[in-house]
Symmetry: C2
Subunit: 641 residues, 2 copies
Amino acid sequence: MQKLLDGHNVEERNRTFDLMASSNLFILKHIGGDKFLGADYNQTMEAQREITMDRIRFLTHKGVFRGWLTKNDPETALANSAVHECLGTFDHSLGIKIGVHFHLWGGAIKYLGTERHHKKWLQDTEDYNVKGCFSMTELGHGSNVRGIETITVYNASTQEFIINTPCESAQKYWIGGAANDATHTVVFSQLHINGKKEGVHAFVVQIRDEKGQVCQGIRIADCGHKIGLNGVDNGRIWFDNVRIPRENLLNSVADVTVNGDYISQIEDPEQRFGAFMAPLTSGRVTIATNAVYNAKVGLATAIRYALTRRAFSLSQNTSEVLLLDYPSHQHRLLPLLAKTYAVSFAAVQLKKIYVNRTSADSKLIHVLSSGYKAMCSWHNLNTLQECREACGGQGLKTENRVGQLKAEYDVQLTFEGDNNVLMQQVSKALIGEYFAAKRKGTPLVAFGLKHVNATNASIQTLQNSSALQNKDFQISLFQLRERDLLHRLAAEISDKTSKGTSMAEAMLRSYRLAEDLGHAFSERCVLETFIGVEEDQTDTSIKYLLGKLRALYVLSSIDERAVFLRYGYITPSQAQAIQLEITRLCAEIRPHVLALVDAFGIPRGLLGPIAFDWIKYNSWDYAENKKESRESPSSIITARL
Amino acid sequence: MQKLLDGHNVEERNRTFDLMASSNLFILKHIGGDKFLGADYNQTMEAQREITMDRIRFLTHKGVFRGWLTKNDPETALANSAVHECLGTFDHSLGIKIGVHFHLWGGAIKYLGTERHHKKWLQDTEDYNVKGCFSMTELGHGSNVRGIETITVYNASTQEFIINTPCESAQKYWIGGAANDATHTVVFSQLHINGKKEGVHAFVVQIRDEKGQVCQGIRIADCGHKIGLNGVDNGRIWFDNVRIPRENLLNSVADVTVNGDYISQIEDPEQRFGAFMAPLTSGRVTIATNAVYNAKVGLATAIRYALTRRAFSLSQNTSEVLLLDYPSHQHRLLPLLAKTYAVSFAAVQLKKIYVNRTSADSKLIHVLSSGYKAMCSWHNLNTLQECREACGGQGLKTENRVGQLKAEYDVQLTFEGDNNVLMQQVSKALIGEYFAAKRKGTPLVAFGLKHVNATNASIQTLQNSSALQNKDFQISLFQLRERDLLHRLAAEISDKTSKGTSMAEAMLRSYRLAEDLGHAFSERCVLETFIGVEEDQTDTSIKYLLGKLRALYVLSSIDERAVFLRYGYITPSQAQAIQLEITRLCAEIRPHVLALVDAFGIPRGLLGPIAFDWIKYNSWDYAENKKESRESPSSIITARL
C-alpha cells in the first residue's frame, strides 16, 4: 500500500530519511533511547535560519542535489521530487529554501532562459555556488502578477537593461532567501521598451557578491518574524537604477536585440504572460504533494494516539474507552484519512502528468494544479487542526508535531496563488471551455468534461448501503453536481452578459457558483483517479480497503457540502441515510487503521512521541529540566499555617 | 455601539490599555512615530516566560489586582473581568498566567475553601506573595476529571493528609505556572479514607519555598515548548508522600474531622463532584469572552486591510478593485463579523448572569457556559484562520497579529473541557430535562426550552427578502431546529434503551444528533440574546445595523449547516434564496464596516500595522535590518557573464 501511495521511488525516500537520521543536524532529541527527528522551533528566527542553511550545506556535501537541474529525464525528476518531499516532511522551511533555490530560481533559468543561461548558472546552482531567489511578488501585488510595478527599460547604447523600484508598493516582498543568503535573483518586472509596455518579463540580477555584500543599487530589508516557516529568510528588495547586461533577459519566451528591438515567437501577449508564469505551475504541483504528506504526519500521530488513549467509561465498573472506539472520534478522523488517501493518489497522478508533460497538456495541468493546490493545502490545514484537537493538550506540544505543522504550513493557502483565487480560475477555465464548445457547436472534451454533454439525468434515490457505496453511483453523483453547477453558472453569466455586464464582472457576481464548481471539478477528478487506482488493484484485500476509503471519501464530502441538498442532487432522506452509512464505514475501516497509517511510510522518528508509548516518554526518568527538593528526607516542609 | 458590545466598564478598559501603552514592557515597536503594543514572539520560551512575569510584577506594583479576591460584589467582579479581558487581548499568556493565579488557584481557595483558607491565602494571592497554580489535569486524564489517579489518604495520628502519585499516568500535567514560578497549588486528588473511595477533593500544597526551591516530596518537570502560549510555564508535578495538615483540605463541600471521619452536607457524591468543578465554570465564562475579543482583533485588522488593499481589475483601463468590494471577499468576512457581534452580546450576558448568580442559576450556567465556551472558541479560531487567509502573505507576519493569535488561542478549544465533549454534555443536559419532564408529565421550562412544548409546526416556505430577514421568522426557525433535533434524539435514545442499551451508550451512538443539538441550543440562545439587544435599542441607526447583523448571523448559520436541509427545516428553494440574501446583506453592511469594527474598541496599538497605512509602515525609511551596498556609485557590479 505504501508503494501505491508514494507512487514512486520508495527506496530514495527511505535513503533520504536514513541520511537525515544519521546527522545531529536533523535530530531533535532522544527519549529513552529512541530518536526523534525535527527542527527545534524553540529558537529565534535568526537561529532557525542559520541551522536551515547548515542542513542545506550538509545535504549538498552529501551530493543529494546532484543532477537536480542538469539531468532532464522524467524518471530523475520524479526521484528528485521524492527526495524533496522527504526533506519537506522533516521541516517546511528546509523544503521551501530548497524549492525556491532549485525550482523557482533554477526552474526560471532552465525553462525561461536559454542555453547561455543554462551554461552560466545551472551547474553553479546545483552546487550551491550561487544562491538563488525568485523576485515576483511585491508589497502591492501578490496573486495579481500582471499588476506588478517594478519597471525595466533598455539602454541600447550600453546594451543594458535598467531596473527600478518606482514606489514603495513596488518593493519585492516575501522573497525567500533574500534577507540573508541569496546572491542572485530572477526579477519579474514590467518591460517598457520603444515606447511600448510589453508586459511582465524575467531578468537575472546579482544581489550579493561572493563576500555576501549587497550589490550596488540593491537595497534589502527583512520581512521579519512569521507565525511559522522561520527557517526561511524572507526579504524585501528595492532596485535603484540597477544595470544588467542585455543577455540577462531570460529569453526563451521573448527577446531584445542588441539594437533594442523587441521580438517574440509568441504573438499573443496573454500567451507570453502565461509562459512566464510556468515556474509557478511546478510550484503548485509540489505544494499539492507536500501538503498531503503533512496531513499524513498529523493523521498517523492522531490515530496512533487514539489507539492508546482512553477517556471516560460507559459505566462505573468498566474501563475507560479508547478514543478511537468512540463513533464520534472515528467520525472526526477517518473521513480525513479517506480524503488523504484520495488526494494522495491524485497528487501523485498530477506529478506524473507534469514530469511527462507535452505542450498539449499545459491547459489541463494549469487547471488541475490550481484546483489540487487549493484542495490539498486546505485539506492539510483542516486535517492538522482536527488532529491537533483530537490529541487534546498533547497536540499543543511542539515535539508532537501536529500542532506546530499548522503554523509551518499555513503559508501554502495563500502563496503561489491564493486558494480562493485559484478556485475561481478553475471555474473560469471550465466556463471558457463550455462557452467555446457552445459557440463551435462541438461537444465538451477537455478537462474530463465529456460527461457534461449527457442530458442532466438525476440520480436514483437509492439509499441502501451497497448502493450508496457503489462507485458508479458515486461518480455519477459527482458528475451530476459538476454538470449542473456548470450549466447554472453558464446560465447566470449569460443572463448577466446579455444585459451588458462584462464577463469579468458576471463571474465576480456569481462567485458562489464559481466556488462550488471549482470544488466540484477538483473532487470529481480526485474521485476518478481513486477509482482508477481501485480498479487497477489486483490484491483483493487492498482492493477492499481502497473501496471502503473511496466510498467514505465520497460520502463524507457529500455530507459536508450543503450544495448537494441545496440543488437537489440528493434527497433529505438520502442525506440521512448517508450519515448512517458514514458511521458504518468508519466502523468497517476502524480495524485496519494502524496498517493504513503505517502505509504512509512516515518514519517513526518523524512522528510525535504521542504516536508511541507516550506514558513511557513522559516518565520522570526521561524528563528534561527536572527539579526536585534538595532537602534531606527527614526535614519536611509543610504549608505554613 | 462599543458600550453595547463591551457591555460594561469601558472606562476601566481604556485605562488598562493606556497603562500598558505607558510601559516599554508592553510596547513591541515604534514605526514612523506610531506605537504598536504586543509581546515579542521571536523569543525562546524561556525569554517569553520571563517577560510575562515582568509584566505581572509591573501590573501588581501598579495596583491593578487590588481587591480581585478580597472584594466580593458583582460590580467589582465585572470591572475586574474587563481589566482581565484587556490584558488577555494584549497577550494570551499574560491573560492565562493571571487567570490561573486569580481564578483557578484563587477561585479554588475562595469558593472551595472556607474562612481559614481565605484568611491564610486570599490577601497573599492578591499581592502575589504566593504564586498559585491549579493541579487538576493529569497525563492520563484531562476532560475526565473523575478518573484522575492522584491518591490522598489521611493519617489520624499526625492529623495529616498524604498525597501520592501512584504511577506515571497520574503525574499532574499542563499545570500553568508550575514549571518555573508557582509556590503553591490546589491539588485535585481521589480521597481514600476509612476504606472508602470518597471521590475527587481539593487540597492546598506548597510546592516551592520563598527561595524558589522545590519542596520535599515534590518533583517538577517542564511540559516543554508549545505551539503558542509560551509565556506560560506549564509544568508537570509528581507527589511522593507529601504530607499536609488536615486543615489544608478545601472544606466548603466536605470535610474530615480530627478523628478522620468524612462528613459532608451534600449527600449525593455526584453533586459533591459538581461542586468541586465550580472553578471550571468561571474559567469557561472567561474563555468565551476572551475568545470573542481575539476574533475582534482579527476582524478589525482584516477588514481595515481589505478597505485599503486592491487586487485585480475588471478591465484593462480600470483601477484594481478593493478587496472588500468583491462580493466573495465580503462573504468571507462579513458573516464572521455578524457572528462576532452575536456571540459578543451573548458572552456579556453570560458574564452578567454569572457574577449575579444564585444557586438556582447553576444548571443553566453550567449548560450555557459549556455551549458558549465551545461555540466562541471555535468561532475565534475559524475567524482568525479566515482573517489570516484574507490578509494573504501579510497575515503570516507575526506583527500583524491575526496569524499569531491562532497559535496563541488554539488551546481554548481543548482546555477547561474539550469542545466536542462540552457540546455532548450540553445535549445530555437537554435530554435529561426532556425525559424528566416527560416522566413527570410537566411542560419543559428550563434552559429556554418552553418552545419545545409547542407542536412541531413547520416553517412557512417564505423566501422573499423581508421574510428571510424577519426576526420572528428567524427565531422560529432556530427553535424548530432545536425542537426537532431534541425530539429525534430522544426518540433514538428511547428506541435503543428500550432494547437494553444503556443511556450512556445510546448517547454515544447518537453522536451526530447530539452534536447538532448542542449547536442548535447554543445558537438559539445567542439569537435570543441578540434579538433582546436589538429590541431594547432606541437609537434607530444602531437598531438598523443590529438588525442587519442579526439577520446575517442567522442566514449564514443556516447556509453553513446542512442540518436545515437534511431534516427539511427549509426547502432547497429557500436555501437558494438565502444564498442570495446573504450576498445582499453583505452589500448592505459593507458601507458601515469601518464603524462596526471601530466599535470593538481595540486600541490602534493592538491591531497589526496592516490595519493602517501599511505602505508607509513598509517603506525603506522604517525598515529594520536594512542592507545596502557600501560601494561608491561609480563602481558598478554586474552579474558575471
